[in-house]
């Protein structure tokens, strides 16, 4: 769509969008960063790619040979 518009139309579209975005509510990074960090750290312990997947619980484990029990 941007291809069919004249330079002026594109500029006007950009301007309208910028006018909207100038008013975006912004929360302090000192508030949002700790929340991201808390979320990640809270779940990291249970993250299979970090914790590792035990052989017997791994649905993707390679098919082994015979197992003698």
């Amino acid at each position: 769509m941007a291809r069919d518009m004249s330079d002026k139309e594109i500029l006007k579209m950009e301007l309208e969008q910028l006018k909207l975005e100038v008013n975006t509510p912004r929360i302090a990074v000192s508030t949002t960063a700790p929340e991201i960090i808390a979320f990640v750290e809270g779940k990291s312990a249970e993250d299979p790619l970090i914790r590792g997947v035990p052989e017997d619980k791994n649905p993707f484990k390679e098919k082994g040979g015979c197992i003698i029990t």
Partner: protein
């Protein structure tokens, strides 16, 4: 000519205002908050399965659940795989082999794909006679289909080389909403965990957050120095990760409306093709043009692992919904499952 100058000046002034407003809330950085956090230990994942069957470059892969995934190759096939057994559940021949994207519906009932045919084709996997057939061809884009993602069995969002994204009604085949605003080809999209918004990355070097229901672009994020090829939501829904031809990935925070971290290394000089966060978001797995996939500690911005094993570009990557494994797809025609 006078009017253009005036419009440009107004735009520049608004951009400056936005930059200042972003700076004003940057009372601390993410780095400040994690200064005392240890880097996550070295992550060494092994290839557990190799999915063989495609005869040409793989362009896309998408998990349906934690076992089934769909892949698209320019050999003209969509293959649905049981990743536990490596069996091919469906091998769907496509009308057009120039496929660039594929998607699995959350319900597991349908898959979709599209590419240089400018269309998004929807396939019903659960047809009565067991045959997989085209259910709908969504045509209206005037450029290639770069990405598609189902919201549900009746709605899908597409991104296109025509610079727009579209929300479709699958039943009627009509465009419900057109999301216009990007000034370059839209390359990738991601849907928020709550399905209220989606994000798009484009060749105008920006990422945009859109409200699905009212069609508005809510936020625009710049900073990349080249095309954004890959984009995804952080698992908490409040941040966005992007991957670009400028060889870096970035984390943008939606609530402070700014970039928080860049993931880059002077030793990496090739473009990012694909990315996916791990379940917790602590790891970001990113595929690159140099045939590797780098694993980043998302908080410390350090590389903590590499997945090497493909003999050509890693074009796509996805982590299972349960976080148990990731799948990489490559131009070498293979998919690999790692954990």
């Amino acid at each position: 000519m006078g009017e253009m100058e005036q419009l440009r000046k107004e735009a520049e002034s608004l951009k400056d205002e936005i930059t200042a407003a972003r700076k004003a809330v940057q009372d601390l950085t993410l780095q400040d908050h994690v200064a005392g956090t240890a880097v996550v230990g070295r992550v060494q994942l092994k290839t557990r399965k190799t999915l063989r069957g495609h005869l040409s470059k793989i362009y896309a892969v998408h998990w349906g659940d934690s076992k089934l995934c769909v892949s698209a190759s320019q050999d003209g096939k969509l293959i649905v795989w049981d990743s536990y057994t490596t069996n091919k559940v469906h091998a769907i021949p496509l009308k057009s082999s120039w496929v660039m994207t594929c998607a699995y519906a959350p319900s597991g009932n349908m898959v979709a794909c599209g590419g240089l045919d400018n269309m998004c084709s929807i396939y019903n996997l659960k047809g009565k006679d067991g045959n997989v057939k085209v259910m709908r061809e969504l045509a209206a884009h005037t450029g290639y289909l770069s990405c598609c993602r189902f919201l549900n069995d009746n709605e899908i969002i597409t991104s296109s080389g025509d610079c727009t994204c579209v929300l479709w009604d699958i039943e009627t085949g009509s465009q419900k909403t057109v999301f216009a605003g990007h000034l370059g080809d839209c390359m990738s999209l991601g849907v928020a965990p709550d399905f209220n918004t989606f994000i798009s990355g484009a060749c105008d070097f920006t990422a945009k957050l859109w409200d699905i229901r009212d069609g508005q672009c809510r936020q625009t994020f710049g900073g990349h120095e080249s095309d954004i090829n890959a984009i995804g939501f952080f698992p908490n829904g409040n941040a966005v990760i992007t991957g670009s031809d400028d060889a870096s990935c970035k984390l943008y925070d939606l609530r402070s409306d700014q970039e928080l971290i860049t993931y880059q290394d002077s030793g990496i000089m090739c473009g990012v093709t694909s990315l996916a966060p791990s379940l917790s978001g602590r790891l970001i797995l990113a595929g690159y043009d140099d045939f590797n996939c780098n694993i980043w500690d998302s908080l410390k911005a350090e590389r903590v692992g590499v997945l090497s094993g493909h003999d050509n570009r890693v074009s796509c990557i996805g982590v299972t919904p349960d976080g148990m494994a990731c799948c990489t797809g490559s131009w070498d025609s293979f998919l690999k499952i790692w954990n």
